[in-house]
């Protein structure tokens, strides 16, 4: 049965790619699951491929790209679901694509990026060898629901897994650490060294300031960003676990959030596959980012860096990453409100655009909700708008052309955009690229 589903799926995938010119990534899986809703379970159980789930609000794609890169550098065979195809049908499709016709998966490791709400469903189908919890932030509340609801769904899912499951969890996050401790699974912590933490006022993108155990206010001695750092509850004593992050790990990507992604991937590779830290560090030097995640493209002979920024915590991190370059900044902000972006754009008011203003040389704004973003920037400024510095364009191509036109020579245009805007932007840039 499943072998025939695999061959049928491969055929559908081929047709879908040919006819629609799309990537055809979820249809084969969708159909296979319709015909056998245990399809994923049935195929995986016949194989000894190690299964890794990657979950979290931000950084799934970058972390899975990093993990795959490190594993393959060390001759471990890996396949993964396509970026963004992180529902059950996407996972099933990747199995169809990578299994041979007898249902064998000729790979050592399968990496599945999973959507926040899909993780519990997927964990019912297959018991993973490894789960990675990167972070948990509010994101598209109209679509995902409340973060506390997701946290409790994750807790329930973990509690049902065999105690031999390896859980790699961000130990700087008070909620995720708590979930891990409650689950009783084999927990490995990752996080950042103290040198990346500082005592600062809490930002407005935080979600877990109160103790997950007793609901009293947590004390954060220091933080890296948002609600992540060195925390303790003075009421019940719950505190950050004792662990040592891998020292001096770096990658050619901007931003402290990418250090978390790197720590996550490196800790898995070190603890589970026994690869030496110095080898990992050497490997990381040649890492290239995933598409739309600090990817650098060329448009009209100028450099454009795309930073996917889709929720308060993620957007603040993108802003901080470019602010840390200490240079005058030229940015294009694109805010869409389609289904993959979330229909509600309220969250932009939880992002600290105030930090961008002092360093901004030019700001161009576009997207479906161009005027909402325009207002956010207007109200982030001390003084009233200077037209020279701020351009508002409804049309995305015109916005890009304007931003490029006013971009000084030898500078990079930073494009901070929501998901559908990122796809559109790449299409405009790569479609017009003269190579």
């Amino acid at each position: 049965m499943d072998s025939s589903l695999i061959s049928a799926g491969k055929f559908i995938s081929f047709i879908s790619r040919t006819i629609t010119q799309g990537n055809g990534s979820t249809w084969p899986g969708h159909i296979a699951l319709k015909l056998n809703n245990n399809f994923i379970h049935d195929v995986v159980k016949k194989n000894s491929t190690k299964i890794i789930f990657i979950a979290g609000t931000n950084g799934k794609t970058t972390t899975s790209t990093l993990l795959r890169f490190l594993l393959e550098k060390n001759n471990i065979r890996v396949f993964q679901n396509e970026s963004g195809a992180n529902l059950l049908n996407g996972v099933a499709s990747s199995i169809i694509q990578h299994a041979n016709l007898s249902g064998k998966l000729p790979y050592d490791v399968a990496l599945f990026e999973t959507d926040e709400n899909t993780l519990p469903l997927l964990a019912k189908q297959i018991s993973p060898d490894v789960i990675i919890f990167l972070n948990l932030f509010r994101d598209q509340l109209d679509r995902y629901g409340e973060v506390n609801t997701i946290a409790s769904k994750w807790q329930t899912a973990l509690n049902k897994l065999p105690k031999t499951t390896n859980l790699f969890v961000n130990g700087d996050d008070p909620e995720l650490s708590y979930i891990a401790q409650q689950s009783g699974l084999k927990t490995h912590y990752f996080g950042l060294e103290e040198k990346y933490m500082s005592k600062k006022e809490m930002t407005h993108d935080v979600d877990f300031l109160y103790c997950p155990n007793c609901h009293h206010k947590l004390t954060f001695k220091k933080t890296t960003y948002s609600h992540m750092g060195d925390f303790v509850c003075s009421h019940c004593g719950y505190k950050k676990a004792d662990f040592k992050p891998i020292a001096d790990l770096s990658i050619p990507l901007l931003g402290i959030y990418n250090l978390y992604n790197t720590q996550a991937a490196a800790t898995v590779v070190k603890d589970l596959f026994g690869i030496q830290i110095n080898v990992i560090q050497e490997n990381l030097k040649s890492f290239k980012p995933a598409f739309g995640r600090q990817e650098i493209l060329s448009y009209r002979n100028k450099n454009v860096m795309i930073l996917l920024s889709k929720n308060p915590a993620g957007f603040n991190q993108s802003l901080n990453a470019i602010i840390e370059t200490k240079q005058k900044l030229n940015v294009l902000l694109v805010l869409n409100d389609r289904i993959p972006d979330g229909r509600d754009v309220s969250w932009i008011w939880d992002v600290d655009f105030e930090n961008l203003i002092p360093q901004a040389e030019t700001i161009t704004i576009s997207g479906d909700r161009v005027y909402d973003m325009g207002l956010r920037i207007k109200y982030a400024q001390e003084q009233m708008i200077e037209e020279r510095k701020l351009k508002i364009e409804e049309d995305l191509t015109e916005a890009l052309d304007t931003a490029i036109q006013i971009l000084p020579e030898n500078k990079t245009l930073y494009v901070l955009c929501t998901y559908s805007a990122m796809l559109e932007m790449r299409k405009i840039i790569t479609g017009k690229k003269i190579s």
Binding site: R138, L141, D142, E146, V147, N148, T149, M202, H204, V206, L209, Y210, H215, K217, R343, D344, V345, S346, W347, I348, W349, D350, Y371, D372, G374, L375, R376, K378, Y379, A380, M384, I385, I392
Partner: protein
């Protein structure tokens, strides 16, 4: 230079009741005061703040939150803070209460499991959450504000499971033209009691509806200084564009 006017805005539970970009309301109030040389102080009020601080505020704001945070706030409001908040509202201190805050001010809230949670009883209304199998009321929305000349519209975004029903002693903020409003049934949205406004338009309501922000500022000034206070007009071209864009998106000709 000494400024002629000053205002203190009390931001209730800024760390707990602020999930949907509600901070935007505070930013808009603050900037629209600053641009007019009105001195402004934002007073954050949370669990650890002394309750008496509430009585020193000229304008109050409280946003919405998720269930876990609301439970923490609910406990705190049962104490002295709730009583002082009631006193301020009864004394006509202007205020804006969004989503969860709006529900708190009512008589009670019946949650998805049928459990009845007592409210502060300041607004004559109650809220019922019909349960997880009933659709949340989500989307862009537009209402026509009652008794406003010239006719004024408010645009916003709503996302709530609870259905709110007004009693006899309170007026709605406006009539729903597009969207769901208080309960998706009676065509009403929000509530107005004395100088306090409750609404489901979250995150945030004020940027695209600057006249509502100015009404709050002006009312606060007049209450504090006990005289007529005309606000200096600001250039609201961008605000108007953002407002009209939503109306157009919803297919409403203003």
């Amino acid at each position: 230079m000494k400024k002629n006017y000053s205002l203190t805005i009390g931001w209730l539970y800024s760390d707990l009741m602020s999930t949907y970009g509600d901070r935007g309301n505070i930013i808009v109030l603050q900037k629209r005061c600053e641009w007019r040389d009105i001195e402004i102080k934002i007073q954050k009020i949370s669990i650890e703040t002394k309750p008496e601080i509430i009585s020193s505020c000229d304008l109050l704001f409280m946003g919405g939150a998720q269930d876990t945070q609301q439970e923490i706030v609910e406990k705190d409001l049962k104490g002295k803070k709730g009583k002082l908040l009631q006193k301020a509202i009864e004394n006509e201190i202007p205020g804006l209460y969004i989503c969860g805050a709006y529900q708190f001010l009512g008589n009670y809230y019946k949650d998805a499991d049928g459990k009845k949670i007592e409210g502060l009883g300041i607004f004559d209304l109650y809220t019922i959450n019909p349960g997880v199998n009933t659709k949340r009321l989500i989307g862009n929305t537009l209402i026509k504000v009652d008794n406003q000349e010239p006719i004024s519209y408010l645009v916003g975004f709503e996302n709530h499971g609870g259905r709110t029903y007004l009693g006899k002693n309170i007026k709605p903020l406006g009539k729903v033209i597009k969207g769901f409003g208080n309960n998706g049934e009676d065509g009403m949205e929000g509530a107005v009691y004395k100088n306090s406004i409750g609404s489901y338009f979250h995150g945030p309501i004020l940027p695209k509806n600057p006249y509502l922000a100015d009404w709050l500022i002006q009312t606060a000034l007049e209450k504090k200084y006990q005289k007529d206070c005309e606000l200096k007009p600001l250039d609201d071209a961008l605000e108007t564009k953002a407002h009209d864009f939503i109306a157009k998106r919803l297919g409403v000709e203003l």
